[in-house]
Amino acid sequence: MKEKKLVRILESELENFKNVEYGDIRYVNYSNAEYRAELKEPDINGIYGQNGSGKTAMIEALDMLQRIMGGKTISYEEYAGMFPENRAMKLSTVFFIECGEKKYKARYGLSLKKNTEERRIQIHSEELVYWQRGVSWKKERNAFFCNPFYDTQSIMEDTSAQVVSEDKGAAGKIRFFRSVQNLAVFCAQKNVSLFFNEIFYNSLEAEGQNDEEMAFSDVVKALFEFARMRFQVVKVNQLGANYSNAFIPVNIHAESENEILQGCIPLFMNGRGEFTEEIFTKLEHVVMAINVALKAIIPNLSIELIKTKEEKNKEGITVVQAEVYSNRDGKKFLTKYESEGIKRMVSLLNYLISLYNNPSICLAVDELDAGVFEYLLGELVGVLAEEAKGQLIFTSHNLRIMEKLDKKNIICSTINPKNRYISLKGIEKTNNRRDFYIRAVVLGGQKERLYDDTELQDIGYAFQKAGNPEGNDVEIDFSAEFLELLKNG
């Protein structure tokens, strides 16, 4: 029987990525977990801020984390442009982990570099630090690995790959660290993590583990499974596919006793949708769940999955073709004609339902508010903030949501690249958070400036000037003396 596992992200620290030189976010349960080793509050985290202030960067960092911890490669095409030249991008994430009765805290630090020649994003080094909970957090254990085999020369020269630890005594007991040579070569070729990949994961199943090995494998297994099965990151470009009207990316988490279905299934809207019979049956269940929730949100709307064709493919597996219809008060039409907001709802609802019910789920969404009616969004987030069991990290521009959240749920991005994220200080219980935020945008008074409009002030003039490059045929009659000053000023 498998132990019940739970992973929660407590903190994200980001360096040298896009417009973030440094930024640190502590999520809602950081202190609860740090000081009492428990998760107490609905873990809803909204990141707010001016355009270009680093909100999306955080979601993208989480996306990379999800892939790396899930044993996957970071796509060069997608991410290279966001990396600094000749420097490492750093991402450090703190987790709270429950494995049955055992509790851990772990920090996974990544140093990533882009290799322009080979067009790869490389995991330059990675470090896993973890603490087991006794009466308090026990002495830290750590494992650091820097892959020497990115340089192919080092494979020839038989360089040895080693997991390094400050606590040699404890690390010496962990047999998993002893023979990573071949694995390291594999990881360097695939650009994947040494600690998080299928081969290493399988080796952690070994029988007869000592306490040190147990703790290490608890942490690694929990994080790997979390990344693969319970942590979903929805970036804006996922919706891009949605906008092109080809399909709705349905973010799914469905858990039964024996299996977990996790990921994003493209629900094609033009009849090309092909699924194995097994997936189709699950999809039908997912659509059913979506409809239950959708009814509460948009009363007369439901989604229908209609089987148009069923056949056996070359491998002899039954494949189903299906179309997605919207049903509004009995009128059926292809869902592709629905508005973007509704497609977005359909896309996210299943995952939001899982998040609401399951404490081990984490969903990170960029622009949660895109295309969604603000009142509705406010209500939805309000419900989640009261009762959601899982974790939601989202960015938004919509200030209505802010009114529905407590100040601890709000993270503000700032105009300072060296300190990108802060929480609002000085809000009193009776303050309307939205009003408080607008006032802080106008007058400042927070640790960092939230908004900079000194350049924006010129926008009206810039528009006029752009439309009248020759000037506007009047001239101010300055004295020669002052004109001279203006020229030299």
Binding site: R434, I438, G444, N472, V474, I476, F478, S479, L486, G489
Partner: protein
């Protein structure tokens, strides 16, 4: 936390000409311009007993929009066009237009009485507001551009609305990136002999034809509110 300063000017184009200059000069204050369409001093329903409340309406609109507290507002600064309000009635002359036409010596209009009435009303309100040091607890101070903003800043009188706009744009373009020179400009070309003291500057504008001539005491604002 910054404090907000609200400037009240008469027209939309006045805001266009001045707002960004002030914003750039006072980077560490939240500078905001409201314009009154001139109706504070030309609306007959507004008098000494309700003018403060009328001004406060502008302040409060802004305050509510930006979710500020009354205590967030540092000061209210009103910039008047003098419009020749202080000239002797004998300098109001018969003209052909129903509109008021200004020169440095006269105001002419078809209906002389209308000008006289306007001047009396405007004078009364400006005189009253000059003695006013606060509105609803917020410090208040008023300055002038003579005979109006166009005259003071561009040396043009009787501009049409279309031209007012063009001049306001051209004016700001000239100062874009060199906003600090605006203060120098006032001193060099616009003050034209107005004394340095605040009260003395007002006494001056009330004399003779000064309120029809090119003057300002706005330079005093910059002296009293040093740039941080």
């Amino acid at each position: 936390m910054d404090k907000a300063v609200i400037f009240i000017v008469e027209g939309a184009t006045d805001k266009k000409a001045l707002e960004n200059i002030f914003k750039k000069i006072y980077r560490h204050k939240e500078i905001h311009f409201e314009f009154t369409h001139g109706d504070i001093t030309s609306d007959e329903k507004i008098n000494k007993s309700n003018v403060e409340a009328e001004i406060y309406k502008f302040v409060d609109n802004y305050r509510k929009d930006k979710k500020l507290r009354v205590s967030d507002i540092w000061q209210i600064v009103q910039i008047f066009d003098t419009d020749g309000a202080y000239i002797d009635d004998s300098c109001i002359v018969q003209g052909e237009s129903a509109e008021f036409v200004y020169s440095e010596e006269h105001i002419s209009c078809k209906n002389i009485q209308k000008v006289k009435k306007r001047n009396k009303h405007k004078k009364e309100l400006m005189d009253y507001l000059l003695t006013c040091s606060g509105i609803k607890g917020i410090p208040y101070r008023c300055y002038y551009l003579s005979s109006n903003l166009d005259h003071a800043l561009y040396n043009k009188q009787n501009l049409s609305d279309g031209l007012k706009r063009k001049y306001a744009e051209a004016f700001y373009w000239q100062f874009m990136g060199k906003e600090h020179l605006f203060i120098k400009y006032l001193d060099m070309e616009v003050v034209n002999g107005v004394p340095d003291g605040f009260l003395a500057s007002w006494r001056y504008i009330k004399e003779d034809l000064h309120s029809l001539q090119r003057h300002t005491n706005l330079n005093i604002y910059f002296k009293e509110n040093p740039i941080l």
